[in-house]
Amino acid sequence: MALAQLKQDATDARLAALSMPEGGWSAAARRDALGRLRAMGLPGRRDEYWRFTRPDTLNQPAPPPAAVLDHGEAPVFDAVDRLKIVFVDGVFDAAASDDLSLEGVTIERLAEARGDIHWARDLYGTLEARGQDPVQRPFAALNTAFATDGLLVHVHGTPSRPISLIYRHADTGSDAILHHVLRVDSGASVTVLENGPAAARFNKCMEIDLADGATLHHVRAQGRDHERRAVTHLFARLGSESVFKSFTLTANGMLTRNEAVIEFTGDDAVAHVAGACVGDGDFHHDDTVFVTHDAVNCESRQVFKKVLRNGATGVFQGKILVKAGAQKTDGYQISQSLLLDGDSQFLAKPELEIYADDVACSHGSTSGAIDEEALFYLRSRGVPSGPATDLLTLAFLAEAVDEIEDETLAAEIAGRLEAWLERRRG
């Protein structure tokens, strides 16, 4: 009981520091979400789902301060022709953003979409609520209830440019909560980019509804070498023959928990989620993925690679749930870590839960140091030790980066990783 009381107190303290935007079409969804949050409480250290990641700094009423850093390099995706939408500490910056009009898509801001009727009303908080079972995700419920802004994106065609969300960090004590809703109509296709550290503490939720035959490519870079704490959720519901591909690059940072909750509701759909992360020093990165197969002949892939050193921690919690009747499922999951020194750690829980017999599901998880033989080979060919290690590290990360379908974007990400490794080699 004492434990439940502690949880209750922590939740109350956090809620006291928040205020719910009032009125409009999202009011009911926000109230429901608050109800869910109160019922489950914020996560504690004893919660199984937070076994490897301490939620304390995400729970506390105010975020720990995070220095605003300028690394003096061009932001990721700068070279890409795209529609730019900028948030500074979670606040929309109209001056820095492009005009929100783009063919094949309508984009609105959550904070501005007033009135009682809106297409997003059927989705806002709906996928998040579905994603609360069988595992509770309190920070997502908190997000639905208290999000101050975000985008409502309705894709009905095939926009010529990617939609690029840029999250700038300007205030050492900012606490941003953004909630995006994305609906992609049947046959429509879109690429969404995200980059930047966003705030001192960032809680972001993205609900994605893919109609039959819809396609979404999602590439995200979460800033680099920052002091931010983040908890993000992706909730994706996939109609038949839809395609969802998501990749995340994390280059250092204090604490990041990325949850992806994917549900197949239509047959023959494909979902790939991948991530490459490099951590050095005081770094904690957590990829938590939950894929539910509730349709026939769907394919899911999870590819996560982590390179860790100087006491960095990498976490992977992945699950493939194949419901009864979800025959012909092809589920694949790989999580690997490369530990560059003796201080770092990799904690993993790759799970399978299968209730259908005609499926091919596999998972693998490995952890180890750099291959001495490969290193020796490179050295014997005249490559110095530092570059040789980087080369092998990049090769290790390549399987995840290769999940990005667009070659330009993949090259951009690979270039960032290479530069990061080179700098760190010092």
């Binding site: 020194d341 299968i354 005609d358 952890s367």
Partner: protein
């Protein structure tokens, strides 16, 4: 694929890639339970329910010294403060711990028989019928399979536990000559208190978990093994657990100590009558392995699994743990899990000594309404420690089969290795197979591999088989089954025969 599927249309619940032999083997094993009969024998019970008086009574019945009674009472008090774990993927009605008998012994055992000749013939007949004759004879003489036995026969010492008491232990005198102590734990508490006191509860602490704590309070019997330094135990040791009485829980406690440089192979078997009401079995096994010693622990678990509608069956909540205390200590767990309505069991290895090794081989078969949540923990603490996990789970009917395991590499466990392979096979579309591995790596010189594919069995062996014309599936099956077979063949008689049927099960159509 489609053509194949159509060709096996008459058996719609069988997917392609699963051969009929496999299906038949599972059906055979999971079908009719052969040990469901009961022995009509006059019993004496402790009053129903659980309280401190019952704990004291059990202690008194076992003629235990005060320290043992105190130990139990402390465990009981701690148990009261604990809550039942609910994280396993098993679902069963709330257990009423007051609606059980915690002590049941045959009346004839009131005065402890001095030798096997004095044991009630009915009891001896029970074991005879189970295929475990409690006679000091060449164990394979005159029974099926004798032709393959070595000319001089093969000896297995048996400790037979019937409900709450040990009926007798064979070959004690011969073992004594080698310095090996093999007796019931109640006897050990009386005869060798210094050893029991030194080791009991040091591997599985009193308050380790809910069921282990309960066991610490009420354990009635079980086996005790001590192998002195440098001794290779001259025969295999085995314990056969039989639940007979109704509404009675069995709480056995086993303590095995392999002193420096010693070796012992220990086998465990168990069965229970077919009854409509579920019965509780909560055992604790502790193994201490000193420097250069080696212990092999094999189990054929065949408790009554309940009927096809999930009525009855044993709840099997077991804590088994081996502590490799010395350098180069080695432990091998092998389990064939076919029985029980609910299984909750994770034989674990603490690899404390440098260069120590832990191995876990498991075949878990769940059929009808059975639920099995089983696996292992490999805790790497010492340098250059090695562990290997090979787990095969087979689900049929409406059963749920879960592998749950932990591999933990501590910062000081430099240059350690783990290899894990879990395969699951589903037969029919109403069952479930689940894998819940935890992997915690805290140093970079160790390698951890968790594989759910069937392609990573020893490459040399695979290559050898492939070069002899076998396909990949056949080769993998041969290698893995061959591995199990080594151990299975060491099991006594009836178990071995039964267990060998399982070996026919192929790996085809495996998933994660």
């Amino acid at each position: 694929m489609t053509a194949l599927e159509e060709s096996i249309a008459p058996a719609p619940q069988v997917k392609d890639g699963v051969d009929q032999e496999t299906v038949d083997a599972v059906r055979e094993v999971g079908g009719a339970y052969k040990y469901g009969w009961s022995t009509d024998i006059e019993m004496e019970y402790a009053p129903k329910g659980l309280n401190e008086d019952i704990v004291r009574l059990i202690s008194k019945k076992n003629e235990e010294p005060q320290w043992m009674t105190d130990w139990r009472i402390e465990a009981y008090r701690r148990w009261l403060e604990k809550t039942e774990p609910d994280w396993a993927m098993v679902d069963y009605p709330q257990i009423d711990f007051q609606d059980q008998y915690y002590y049941a012994r045959p009346k004839s055992m009131e005065v402890k028989p001095k030798s096997l000749d004095e044991v009630d013939p009915k009891l001896l007949a029970t074991y005879e019928k189970l295929g475990i004759p409690l006679k000091e004879q060449m164990i394979l003489a005159g029974v099926e399979g004798a032709e393959s036995a070595p000319a001089e026969g093969r000896k297995v010492a048996v400790d037979a536990v019937f409900d709450s008491v040990s009926v007798g232990t064979t070959f004690q005198a011969e073992l004594k000559k080698a310095g090996v102590i093999f007796c019931s734990i109640s006897e050990a508490v009386r005869e060798h208190p210094e050893l029991v006191r030194k080791y009991l509860g040091t591997v599985v602490p009193v308050s380790d978990n809910y069921y282990a704590t309960l066991n610490s309070a009420v354990f009635s019997d079980g086996s005790f093994v001590y192998v002195p330094p440098g001794v290779r135990c001259p025969m295999e040791l085995s314990t056969y657990f039989r639940i007979n009485a109704e509404n009675t829980g069995q709480f056995e406690r086993t303590l095995i100590i392999a002193d420096k440089g010693s070796y012992v192979s220990y086998l465990e078997g168990c069965t229970a009558p077919q009854r409509d009401i579920s019965q509780l079995h909560a055992a604790v096994v502790e193994i201490i392995i000193e420097e250069d010693a080696e212990v092999k622990y094999s189990t054929v678990q065949n408790w009554y699994p309940g009927d096809e509608n999930g009525k009855g069956g044993i709840y099997n909540f077991v804590t088994k743990r081996a502590d490799c205390r010395g350098d180069r200590a080695k432990v091998m767990w092998t389990q064939v899990e076919t029985g029980s309505a609910v299984t909750w069991k994770y034989p674990s290895c603490i690899l404390r000594g440098d260069d120590s090794q832990g191995e876990f081989y498991s075949i878990a078969i769940a059929n009808n309404m059975q639920q099995a949540d089983t696996g292992t923990k490999m805790i790497h603490l010492g340098k250059r420690t090695k562990s290997r996990i090979v787990s095969k789970g087979i689900s049929a009917g409406k059963a749920q089969n879960t592998y749950r395991g932990l591999v933990s590499m501590h910062p000081k466990a430099r240059d350690s290795r783990n290899y894990t392979q879990c395969d699951s096979l589903l037969i029919g579309d109403r069952c479930g197979a689940h894998t819940v591995p935890y992997i915690e790596v805290k140093n970079n010189s160790s390698r951890v591999e968790h594989e759910a594919t069937t392609s990573k069995v020893d490459d040399d062996q695979l290559f050898y088989c492939r070069s002899r014309g076998m396909d990949e599936e056949e080769a993998v099956a041969l290698v893995v089954n061959g591995f199990c077979k080594d151990v299975l063949q060491a099991l006594p008689m009836e178990f071995a025969m039964e267990a060998q049927q399982l070996v026919a099960i192929s790996l085809e159509g495996s998933v994660g």
